[in-house]
């Protein structure tokens, strides 16, 4: 029986999430034995024609050409999974969504007229149907293996949707907010990294995006208790998952308060 065909596509991104596939050193050749890596330009010159059984998409949609390309990829794909914060939430480049892109272009480039870019950076799900979203900036490489394995076995990936706090408790890491007074996004951020930052004496900065039904206002109040300003809250929510809805609403809210308060 022919192996299921895997394709990997890149949009606006850093390449880190698809690199995670090559970073699974112990399992890379195993993966290649259960799926046919049919179209993965970062790894191979070979391009096997679609349709594909499983397509992994990295990156956000930021150009008119890419907004069309994603539809063609969807047509070629039986299952489409977004990998990482860019494909899932628009990425750090979604900061343009709050600004004037023409001004941005003129800051970086001498001839903005050579560019062909949209005014927004948006997640793939805003353009086509997505079958599963794998969070993270970057994704966790073993979670990526789980996604491929689940697909091959015909089941839903087993990926947690609870908060980073649960991971800290499991690891026995003491709470950086409670014990050190360090602002931490862990209570509103989805698990998946293994609560990495708190174990390095650092507050979580939200790589995996908002958890299911996060209480951003209760967290904001706790941060303000630690002396963080509204402007500081805007910075925190407007990070690598800035355009994910709960973080977007929270940052807009605190920006209005920062302006009103003359911060």
């Amino acid at each position: 029986m022919a192996l299921p065909k895997l394709a990997v596509y890149k949009f606006a991104s850093c390449d880190g999430c698809q690199l995670s596939i090559l970073d699974v050193e112990d399992h890379l050749l195993d993966i290649a034995s259960v799926v046919h890596i049919a179209n993965f330009p970062e790894a191979s010159r070979e391009v096997v024609e679609g349709p594909y059984d499983l397509t992994l998409v990295e990156g956000s949609i930021t150009t008119p050409h890419d907004a069309e390309r994603i539809h063609e990829i969807r047509r070629q794909s039986k299952h489409l999974v977004t990998i990482g914060a860019c494909a899932t939430a628009g990425g750090i480049q979604a900061l343009r969504n709050w600004k004037d892109t023409d001004l941005f272009a003129s800051i970086v480039y001498a001839h903005p007229e050579y560019l062909d870019t949209l005014h927004t950076s948006t997640p793939v799900k805003n353009h086509v149907e997505v079958n599963f979203e794998l969070r993270g900036c970057p994704v966790d490489k073993m979670a990526l293996v789980e996604v491929v394995a689940a697909f091959v076995q015909g089941r839903r990936p087993n990926i947690p949707e609870y908060s980073v706090c649960v991971e800290c408790k499991r690891k026995g890491t003491s709470c950086v907010m409670v014990s050190n007074g360090t602002p931490c996004l862990g209570p509103v951020t989805q698990a998946g990294c293994g609560a990495l930052c708190p174990s390095y004496n650092r507050g979580c900065y939200g790589c995996f995006g908002p958890m299911e039904s996060p209480n951003t206002e209760m967290l904001a109040a706790a941060w303000q208790g630690l002396g963080v300003t509204h402007r500081g809250l805007v910075d925190a929510f407007r990070g690598f998952n800035a355009y994910a809805e709960p973080f977007r609403i929270a940052s807009d809210h605190h920006e209005a308060l920062a302006v009103a308060g003359g911060e």
Binding site: S13, C14, G16, A43, S44, I107, Y114, P138, Y200
Partner: protein, 434 residues
């Protein structure tokens, strides 16, 4: 007069990080034009960093590149520390070098085994190559893992490490944590020697160019984080003088700015440049094996960059072992910062070449202006020059072989197009008017 047009279109240059485009035009057997274009959708990093706190620069700029995030973190923290008039010394400085060793190892090994070696051995990919050379691919994967392990222990994770901050680290590793890396690094030292001998046995096209090599140079060590910017044609400047000597231009075919040395033109950054300008600073074992396998102390054949990556991998492994051996846990994970308005410059050696950052900061430490010059943008003109030289010698090849050779020529530079870019469409257009 008949007109005969030959065209080759390859929609993607594979086995590079990101996507770009090349257009080659040959008329009556003469090369008319060679363009290496970059169409990565612009992400506007320099623009959206305006107004952000200085402390976010290492985490934000890391996201420019998933393959060399440590380089972005290092250039940014050095620039910020320059602006605040401080520097990181002693064991904290050594830990930064150690982290960088990890990135060099994983990035160089990724490129040598998974991206570049398949060209020399005639395979579409390392997975195809594994069917006939499983032991070679497995050696590469294990060696790469040894580099990733360093980044994970010091940085927290291999892609976008979380432990780097302006002034030092959030938490420093214990001596015990670092010592867990030693057995595998000792294996890796031998494995790197085997790798150098293996790749030096490949067949190399006879191509040489009179490059202007540019890299950092430090009086005591092979350069990672610090030094003056020097070249083999007389350049010798402080990092803060970058904009006085280099020029960035925006040309229509590229969403990455092209760099030139003012009044001179193209230059070459990366392993070949570092090696040529710092050969004496390599460890004795790295120098010896380089000469043993036939490298020149100044190597002008860009295809031999794969051997030089091997030599730098060996150097990074030995340097990592030295740092771990001499490590004592510092009393504090970071130095205090005196935040004030200022301008900061930082340059460090990413695996694929020098990376320059410049920031203007307000008195509250927020970023007023950012400038980032990635290595692949600096190499764009040199890559085009190489393509021209390779083409001149190889026009008799059939289209498929010529296309592959040109792709390989680009891969000599391990281009990181996300740093600079996207879309690599390779087009060879041959027009015969006779």
């Amino acid at each position: 007069m008949t007109s005969d047009v030959r065209k080759i279109d390859v929609d993607y240059l594979a086995r590079v990080e990101g996507e770009g485009e090349m257009h080659v035009k040959v008329v009556d057997g003469k090369i008319e034009d060679v363009q290496f274009g970059i169409f990565e959708p612009p992400r506007f990093y320099e623009a959206f960093m305006e107004g952000r706190p200085f402390s976010e620069a290492p985490d934000i700029t890391a996201r420019i590149c998933g393959i060399c995030p440590v380089a972005y973190q290092m250039s940014s923290v050095h620039a910020m520390e320059y602006a605040f008039g401080t520097s990181v010394t002693g064991q904290l400085r050594s830990l930064r070098r150690l982290l960088y060793c990890g990135e060099w190892i994983e990035s160089h090994v990724l490129h040598m085994f998974l991206l570049h070696a398949p060209d020399f051995l005639g395979y579409e990919s390392a997975v195809h190559m594994a069917a006939d050379h499983k032991d070679v691919v497995e050696l590469g994967l294990r060696l790469k893992k040894a580099g990733n392990a360093i980044v994970t222990v010091v940085g927290g994770r291999e892609i976008h490490p979380i432990n780097v901050k302006v002034g030092g680290f959030y938490r420093v590793p214990t001596k015990k944590e670092l010592e867990t890396l030693v057995p595998e690094l000792e294996w890796a030292r031998d494995a790197a020697m085997d790798t150098i001998r293996l790749v030096s046995g490949f067949t190399f096209p006879k191509v040489e160019q009179d490059f202007e090599f540019v890299s950092l140079s430090h009086p005591l060590e092979y350069p990672f984080n610090e030094g003056r910017i020097v070249s083999n044609k007389g350049l010798d400047i402080a990092v803060s003088e970058w904009n006085d000597f280099f020029l960035e231009e925006h040309v229509e075919r590229s969403n990455a700015l092209h760099s030139r040395i003012r009044e001179r033109g193209a230059y070459h950054v990366g392993p070949l440049a570092r090696y040529a300008l710092n050969f004496e600073k390599l460890t004795p074992a790295a120098r010896d094996i380089a000469l043993e396998v036939g490298l020149n102390p100044v190597e002008l054949n860009p295809f031999k960059s794969i051997i030089v990556r091997g030599v730098e991998t060996l150097y990074a492994i030995e340097e990592a072992l030295r740092i771990i051996d001499q490590y004592e846990e510092p009393a504090s994970p970071a130095v205090e910062l005196n935040i004030h308005a200022g301008v900061g410059h930082g340059a460090s050696e990413a695996p694929r070449g020098m990376l320059y950052h410049r920031y203007e900061l307000a008195s509250n430490g927020r970023i007023l202006k950012a400038q980032i010059v990635p290595p692949t943008a600096q190499n764009q003109l040199t890559i085009e020059d190489d393509l021209m030289v390779v083409l001149e010698d190889s026009l008799e090849l059939p289209d498929d072989e010529l296309t592959w050779l040109l792709e390989q020529s680009i891969r000599n530079y391990d281009p990181c197009i996300s740093c600079a870019t996207h879309f690599l469409n390779l087009k060879v257009e041959r027009i015969n008017t006779k």
